[in-house]
């Protein structure tokens, strides 16, 4: 079970907490939806669980143990923009083989044309590239998947196709999936359980705003 206990993140000592004392649990084979208005820290939480970001407070464990710091990370993150997740100087075949090379069945399920493997990333469309990013994460070593707005910028047909492949694979290999999205109908289709990130515990005070000039401008 992927667990986050007492998780809290803030991007600076003077800055307010994005979230605090958060408890997260994801069972193998479970699909959980996560939704909240923009700026509550959905992406930050996904980055913490996938090991990209060390939480300011709390710990992440897998079956009671902290995830490995070297080697293949059992929690994989797929973000909204696949073009940032591939090296622009690598051909697609090399991109796919970087971690655990995906099984041919996975490529077929995602309808990845074998001809793409010889192409450069900028020669594929966003939807095609996202399928590559998904294929890279669907292998026996992945145990949890953080799907952070994974299909937000894709058309309905591609969206359905990718999610169909992911749900079938996750069910067969008991992969826990966290579905982060603003799309309520997508989440209700995929997940039985939906979590909403709570409102930030502390609201910026005038004193904090003065202490951190960057806050006035916003993001």
């Amino acid at each position: 079970m992927l667990k986050g206990e007492g998780l809290g993140v803030r991007y600076g000592k003077q800055l307010p907490w994005l979230f605090q004392d958060l408890e997260v649990a994801l069972e193998p084979g479970e699909m959980v939806g996560l939704t909240a208005p923009s700026g509550r820290g959905k992406t930050t939480l996904a980055r913490v669980l996938a090991g990209y970001l060390r939480p300011t407070a709390g710990i992440v464990t897998i079956d009671g143990r902290p995830p490995p710091t070297t080697g293949y990370h059992p929690v994989q993150l797929i973000a909204q923009h696949p073009e940032l997740a591939v090296n622009p100087r690598w051909r697609i075949g090399r991109v796919l083989a970087e971690g655990v090379p995906p099984a041919p069945a996975v490529l077929d399920a995602l309808q990845i044309d074998r001809g793409w493997l010889q192409r450069w990333p900028h020669e594929l469309s966003g939807g095609e590239l996202q399928r590559i990013a998904v294929a890279r994460a669907l292998n026996p070593q992945t145990r949890y998947l953080m799907a952070d707005e994974m299909t937000a910028m894709l058309d309905a047909a591609t969206q359905a196709q990718i999610w169909h492949a992911v749900t079938v694979y996750a069910a067969a290999h008991r992969i826990g999936v966290l579905v982060i999205s603003h799309d309520a109908s997508l989440i209700s289709r995929l997940c039985r359980r939906v979590e909403v990130l709570p409102e930030p515990p502390a609201i910026c005070t005038a004193a904090q705003m003065d202490a951190e000039p960057g806050l006035r401008g916003g993001h």
Partner: protein, 292 residues
């Protein structure tokens, strides 16, 4: 006139391609080849033409350009073509050495600043800013003077003042790469830091380094010539371009225009050749431009 039966004009991006016309990539490669040819011609020319023209020949003093002496002769009867070729190849050698040293310093400091971060980054960035804030020529003169002038002085001065631009580029590039999603992802896919440096970072940094190095050459050569021109560079008995130009200044008033014109043009052409070379190599190496 029946417009309906007229055959529509074929869709074309530009004028019709002819068999002898090269595409952009071929044109770029051809330009690179021509620049390399011109620069190696200077080096080969100096070697082929020999040292005979450097000897004093008072019988043929102050001769304007002719078939025997295409660039004319100076007040000691030395052949200006020979002197220009020797001067250019000497300047190219000195510039090349200084530029390479400078590029290595720049790359090393840029890498250190980006990978160590914190205090090291702050110190290196501060040094870069200091170098940028001082007038280039003043710094060159100061360093060349301190080291004691001569060939060594020029190389040290040029090498120590030209690394800042490249250091900044390399530092920014490494910082950007470190935060790139695919680089961070590589670690989650089980790749070690050395593997990431070798396979993700190096292919991005090497082209930057090579282009930065080539674009350093013209600066190094011009500054070498400038230092020699004002008399604290290469020693006066060497046929350096800066020295030739400085000497020519004294004879311009007497009408010996060829003494300054041809060596000056040759320097200009050599520097431009390097500049064009750098730009074209960049176009070929950058994947967005070369494959797009």
């Amino acid at each position: 006139m029946s417009t309906l039966t007229e055959t529509p004009a074929p869709m074309r991006a530009g004028p019709a391609p002819r068999p002898w016309q090269l595409n952009r990539r071929q044109r770029t490669l051809l330009t690179i080849g021509l620049c390399l040819l011109a620069l190696s011609a200077v080096l080969a020319g100096a070697w082929l033409i020999g040292d005979d023209g450097l000897a004093t020949n008072l019988a043929a003093r102050n001769q304007p350009p002719s078939l025997a002496h295409p660039f004319g002769t100076d007040w000691l009867g030395r052949d200006m073509l020979t002197r220009t070729l020797h001067g250019l190849s000497l300047s190219l050698g000195v510039g090349l050495l200084a530029a390479v040293v400078s590029a290595v310093i720049g790359a090393a400091l840029g890498l250190l600043a980006a990978t160590l971060g914190g205090a090291a980054d702050a110190v290196i960035t501060w040094v870069i800013d200091v170098f940028f804030s001082l007038p280039h020529l003043v710094l060159l003169i100061m360093i060349a003077f301190t080291v004691g002038g001569g060939t060594i002085g020029v190389i040290v001065a040029v090498a120590l003042t030209h690394w800042t631009g490249l250091a900044r580029i390399i530092r920014a590039e490494v910082l950007q790469l470190k935060s790139a999603h695919y680089v961070q992802l590589s670690a989650r896919l089980g790749r070690g830091p050395l593997w990431v440096a070798r396979h993700h970072m190096l292919p991005h940094l090497l082209p930057q380094f090579i282009v930065g190095l080539i674009l350093l050459f013209p600066h190094a050569i011009l500054h070498e010539a400038a230092l020699s021109f004002i008399g604290i560079g290469l020693s006066p008995h060497l046929p350096a371009i800066g020295i030739i130009l400085a000497e020519a200044m004294r004879y311009l008033a007497t009408g010996s225009w060829w003494l300054a014109l041809f060596p000056g043009l040759a320097l200009l052409l050599a520097v431009t050749a390097f500049d064009v070379l750098g730009e074209q190599v960049r176009d070929v190496i950058e994947p967005k431009q070369s494959q797009g």
